[in-house]
């Protein structure tokens, strides 16, 4: 089972867990409709279409309303601590939750007490909490963008807002930021760094990069990072090793973006619609090429 965990921007949305269905432009969860836009709804939508394309069961979602006050997030943390270890989850993706180190640690401890941890992916606010907790290396994958990578690289920063200025948030500086993040033990076992060039790396080395198709208009579109995380979650659930799943996901997300023919004003729902076609195309290419490494550029 694949679990997706996050929030929706509606303070009145109750805490809900269950399977989700994607109908047109919205998600249906426990009889409630959620608009697919940026954030966790975009992650869920992308994961759903990717799971369908891979012939997998739909993900189990844990969602609550939270507009940023943190009340919904804390209810969800408490629920996860009690309920998540009892589920048969193999992959868990944590997403937009109010960063809270204490609650993060309680959830991680509850999972750890069950025995072997499931494969853990963290993005957005949960990734911030995981970094601050000192337990980043318990996670299998983080999916930061460049600003968030700078935060991981700054061992002092409690949030990206406080990343120190001398840690340059520039594309050309990515290898140094990666090195700092791993040396400070503020990175997961694998990082998928989202940017004009996507990097897939472990503590040992940068495994590869993906930079085609190059679609600059994707960066301003809110939710394109969320769709990438959703696709990689589905691929790991399908059994792909994490780094390979990250490489395939980067290619699929870029291709879906290109197929949507976007401008900076495009909304992410238009990208989600193209994921099935992009996933099929990339997987066909991999089979055709017989390339187990998924055609990521090897990093020199």
């Amino acid at each position: 089972m694949l679990a997706l965990i996050g929030t929706v921007p509606d303070k009145d949305f109750p805490l809900v867990s269950g399977s989700v269905a994607l109908k047109g432009g919205s998600l249906s969860l426990d009889g409630r409709e959620i608009s697919v836009n940026r954030g966790t709804p975009a992650l869920i939508a992308a994961t759903c279409v990717a799971c369908k394309g891979l012939g997998l069961s739909t993900p189990l979602c844990f969602v609550v309303g939270d507009e940023g006050l943190g009340k919904g997030s804390r209810r969800l943390y408490a629920y996860l601590k009690d309920q998540l270890p009892a589920t048969d989850v193999q992959v868990v993706t944590f997403h937009y939750l109010q960063p809270d180190v204490d609650w993060h640690n309680r959830v991680l401890l509850a999972l750890e007490e069950k025995g072997q941890l499931p494969l853990l992916i963290a993005d957005a606010g949960y990734m911030y909490a995981a970094k601050m907790s000192g337990f980043a290396s318990c996670y299998d994958l983080f999916t930061p963008d460049l600003g968030e990578l700078s935060f991981l690289a700054d061992e002092m920063a409690p949030h990206p807002f406080y990343t120190r200025g001398f840690i340059l948030h520039e594309e050309g500086n990515v290898p140094d930021l990666i090195k700092r993040a791993f040396e400070g033990e503020n990175a997961a076992k694998t990082l998928l760094i989202k940017g004009s060039k996507d990097y897939i790396c472990t503590k040992e080395k940068i495994l590869g990069t993906v930079d085609t198709p190059h679609v600059p208009a994707l960066e301003p579109i809110g939710g394109t990072g969320d769709t990438l995380t959703g696709i990689v979650a589905a691929l790991t659930y399908a059994g792909y090793p994490v780094a390979e799943a990250a490489t395939i996901a980067a290619r699929v997300n870029r291709l879906a973006g290109a197929l949507a023919n976007p401008t900076p004003a495009t909304q992410v729902a238009d990208v989600v619609k193209k994921i099935p076609e992009a996933l099929e195309s990339v997987l066909e290419e991999i089979v055709k090429d017989g390339d187990g490494a998924c055609a990521a550029k090897k990093y020199a």
């Binding site: 929030t7 921007p9 836009n37 940026r38 954030g39 966790t40 939270d66 507009e67 940023g68 006050l69 943190g70 009340k71 997030s73 937009y96 939750l97 109010q98 809270d100 180190v101 204490d102 640690n105 401890l109 750890e112 957005a124 606010g125 990734m127 911030y128 601050m132 907790s133 000192g134 337990f135 290396s137 318990c138 963008d145 600003g147 968030e148 935060f151 061992e155 002092m156 409690p158 949030h159 990206p160 807002f161 406080y162 990343t163 120190r164 200025g165 948030h169 400070g184 033990e185 600059p216 301003p220 579109i221 809110g222 939710g223 394109t224 990072g225 401008t263 900076p264 004003a265 909304q267």
Partner: protein
Amino acid sequence: MTFKLFKRKEKTTPLTKGKSPDRGFLAFANTSEVIKAESLIKEKGWRVRVMGPPPELRTGCDLVIEFPLVEQLNILRLLEENKLTPLEVVPVDDPLLKPVDLFKTTDYGQYLMVRAANMKLTIDKETLQIVNVSGGGCPDVPYLGAILVGKDLQEAPPPREVGHTLCGYALQLAYEEIKRQCSL
């Protein structure tokens, strides 16, 4: 609390060594303001405590309020509404840290994007309409996106008025920078 399977790195051990990586300090001009602020914040349900300040913050008052750092924007708005302005707002673990002040601007021809820390704001240069909000990780980011996207930059509420977290605060900086670049 100890973890059996995995080792936590040495430098951040909030549960075992009293470190507080996700907490901040509010420093005020006098004790009276500290007491008023503490009451106000507690009334709204936040978990805060009054403490002695670290050496870096010993500027006037001998007390500070420790608060959840990520909710800085929301707490500052509450204080401002009640005419209480802290002298300083800083992270507990390193009071010398300052908010990010670097901006990255990308010109897409018809569109302009400004990034501040982890938040990006994009407008249509001709109409000044906000066309996208991206980046960030706190739960008010999707909420801010829903409120701001489609609005005219001059009429949209500033993110600090409707956001709640440090991501909302970073978006405010991007908003101010893009307005500055558009001479608004």
